[in-house]
């Protein structure tokens, strides 16, 4: 009898472990692992999945077996045996879970230490969340972009913050997530390992636009990345392009860029007029001031409050100077 | 019935299994929850004190508040003397001590009002800074507890004058005392955490 029980439980144990192993190794529940960190996280995930599978089928199996095997037979109105407990059994199912938990805890800690180690000379990328968009800055190049590009295989540290409420920067393919909290900068280290385009999502409820606060990260070869960077810098410093990318053309008329907006005053020949607007203020200063604080002077016939007031953040000082010079040069 | 069961049966009549009075247990449990309520406010104050440094705290007048503290401590003495009076069957003396408690409580509140108006004069306001918000909220909630205690003391006083308590029946006074002493203890901690520790 005793041997038989042991034999049966051995069989059950082997079957369960095999099952757990199969599920853990075969299950494909995660998006592509596009960062080195993702590989380690997925490994941990598979281990947890295997352990849980064993426990799951052990308990559910016992449950189903008990329901089938021990259900009351018709006409049998006697009680079950008065078993109140079994010390060794209770100690067993206290110690084994404890052991499992300790192992999982240690392993998780190792993975945590490893994934949060930034690696040698990581590139810094600043990530700014605002309702409801992600903006990016490459401080080394002093370059602000609306797209996130990363060179494959190069360690990067994201410095994440927010301008309004809490957002959470999440690239599922990287497995990393970090809240963008106003008033503080939190870091997340990543090393992309796969070339491709992966979605970026906001994971913390941030208001009505929460579900549309998405972007994408482009992981590309070093060369492609460098040329992209160069191109972005060129755009940033070519005022004509800047005039378009910053969105000025949407509201202002300017012949050379072919814009015909009428929301704001026309900007052709601005140099001539700009001088007389502010008392004792030359044209250059007037134009710069009008970009930074649009409601400072309202051209007669136009409404205040229409032009965004955050160009000071959106554009670098150099870009603003470039714009001013560009506008002054327009006949 | 086992011997222990008999004991239980007798306690039960008085509603006192474990030999403890349910009103007292209830009061202590309420105090426990109050500890955690002030805990939330104190944790907030300390968090900001640690992160922001609270330079404005130098504006606080330690000595004046120290005097106010001793007033509250004295009121606690009055309460406990009142309790021991009624336990000795001296209802009249208890009423005197309760009256004293009420007066001391009101004095403390007056002191707090003076302190607040002084700080407002200095430009430290509830909405002016994180320090103002944390300070006035924490001390203000303590003040509200003192106010509630004064009202409760009035009720106990009136009941006492109506001969509601005696050397045997005085749980109403004791339970009120527990509350009052707890409010006193909260102030003892606030005095150190807000005023003394830089």
């Amino acid at each position: 009898m005793r041997e038989r029980t042991l034999f049966l439980s051995a069989i059950v144990a082997i079957v369960l472990v095999a099952l757990g192993f199969v599920v853990a190794s075969q299950a494909n529940l995660m998006p592509p692992a596009a960062s080195t960190r993702a590989v380690e996280v997925d490994q941990l995930f598979r281990v947890l999945l295997g352990v849980s599978t064993v426990i799951f089928f052990l308990v559910e199996g016992a449950l189903v077996f008990a329901v089938l095997r021990f259900r009351k037979r018709a006409g049998d109105d006697k009680d079950g045996p008065p078993i109140h407990g079994n010390a060794s059994l209770e100690i067993l199912w206290t110690l084994i879970p404890t052991a499992i938990v300790v192992v999982i805890g240690v392993y998780s800690f190792q993975v945590l230490m490893s994934i949060e180690n930034p690696g040698r000379s990581p590139r810094i990328v600043e990530i700014i969340g605002r309702q409801f968009a992600w903006n990016f800055r490459y401080p080394d190049q002093d370059l602000a972009t609306s797209e996130l590009h990363l060179p494959v295989g190069q360690p990067v540290v994201f410095q994440i913050t927010s301008e309004d409420v809490i957002h959470s920067f999440w690239v599922p393919a990287f497995r990393g997530k970090r809240d963008a909290t106003p008033g503080q900068v939190s870091e997340m280290a990543i090393t992309p390992r796969e070339i491709g385009v992966f979605p970026v999502r906001c994971a913390e409820l941030c208001g009505a636009g929460h579900s549309i606060m998405t972007s994408q990260v482009v992981v590309e070869s070093q060369d492609a990345f460098d040329s992209w960077l160069a191109q972005q810098q060129a755009l940033a410093n070519d005022p004509g392009q800047l005039f378009l990318t910053a969105g000025c053309g949407g509201c202002h008329t300017l012949a050379v860029t072919g814009n015909t907006g009428v929301v704001g005053p026309p900007l052709d020949g601005l140099a001539a007029r700009a001088g007389e607007r502010g008392p004792g203020e030359d044209a250059a200063h007037y134009i710069e001031k009008s970009i930074l604080e649009p409601d400072g002077f309202i051209v007669p016939g136009f409404q205040p409050g229409l032009m965004p007031k955050d160009f000071g953040q959106r554009l670098t000082p150099q870009q603003i100077q470039a714009l001013v010079a560009f506008l002054l040069a327009q006949p | 019935m086992s011997q222990q069961a008999v004991a239980h049966a007798e306690n039960y009549r008085a509603g006192q299994a474990l030999g403890v009075d349910h009103r007292k247990v209830g009061m202590w449990l309420f105090i426990a929850s109050e500890v955690m309520f002030f805990g939330g406010l104190i944790a907030t104050y300390l968090h900001y004190k640690y992160t922001l440094g609270f330079p404005e705290a130098s504006r606080l007048d330690i000595v004046a508040v120290g005097v106010n503290t001793t007033i509250l401590l004295t009121s606690s003495l009055a309460v406990v003397m009142g309790l021991s009076s009624i336990r000795a069957g001296k209802a009249g003396r208890m009423s005197v001590f309760l009256l004293l408690t009420i007066l001391l409580g009101l004095t403390f509140l007056t002191g707090q009002v003076l302190e607040f108006s002084h700080l407002y004069g200095e430009g430290v306001t509830l909405t002016g800074s994180v320090f103002g918000s944390s300070f006035f909220t924490l001390t203000g909630f303590h003040g509200l507890h003192v106010l509630a205690g004064v009202v409760w003391a009035l009720i106990v006083l009136v009941l006492g004058l109506r001969r509601a308590f005696s050397a045997e029946r005085n749980m109403g006074v004791e339970v009120f005392g527990l509350y009052w002493h707890f409010v006193d203890i909260v102030w003892i901690m606030l005095f150190t955490l807000i005023y003394l520790i830089p």
Binding site: - | L18, G19, V20, D21, K24, V25, W28, L29, I31, A32, S33, V35, M36, F38, G39, I42, A43, T44, L46, H47, Y50, I62, V63, G66, T69, T70, L73, T74, S76, L77, V79, V80, M81, S84, S85, R87, A88, A167, E174, G177, L178, H181, F182, D184, I185, I188, M189, F191, T192, Y195, L196, I197, P198
Partner: protein, 92 residues
Amino acid sequence: MQAPSAHPARRWPLYLGVFLILILLTVIEIMVAGSGLTPPTLGIILLALSFSKAGLVAAFYMHLRDDHRLYTAIFVLPVLLLMVFAVLSVLI
């Protein structure tokens, strides 16, 4: 285990003594705060003083000293929890 109300009349010297100690401790606190001690030591001393004051009130005025242990447990456990919570909230 109930609070002994046997000789209540004789308890007032005890209460008065406790009161005097409380006042004394308060004075000491203010003097310590005034002394030029540095924050870590200063904080520890001041906390020790205030906790002893709170302890005196709880033990004698709230009768925890000679009342049922249950009451002490109900009071002390949340205080400990509060201390843990406060420390972790400061560090968070």
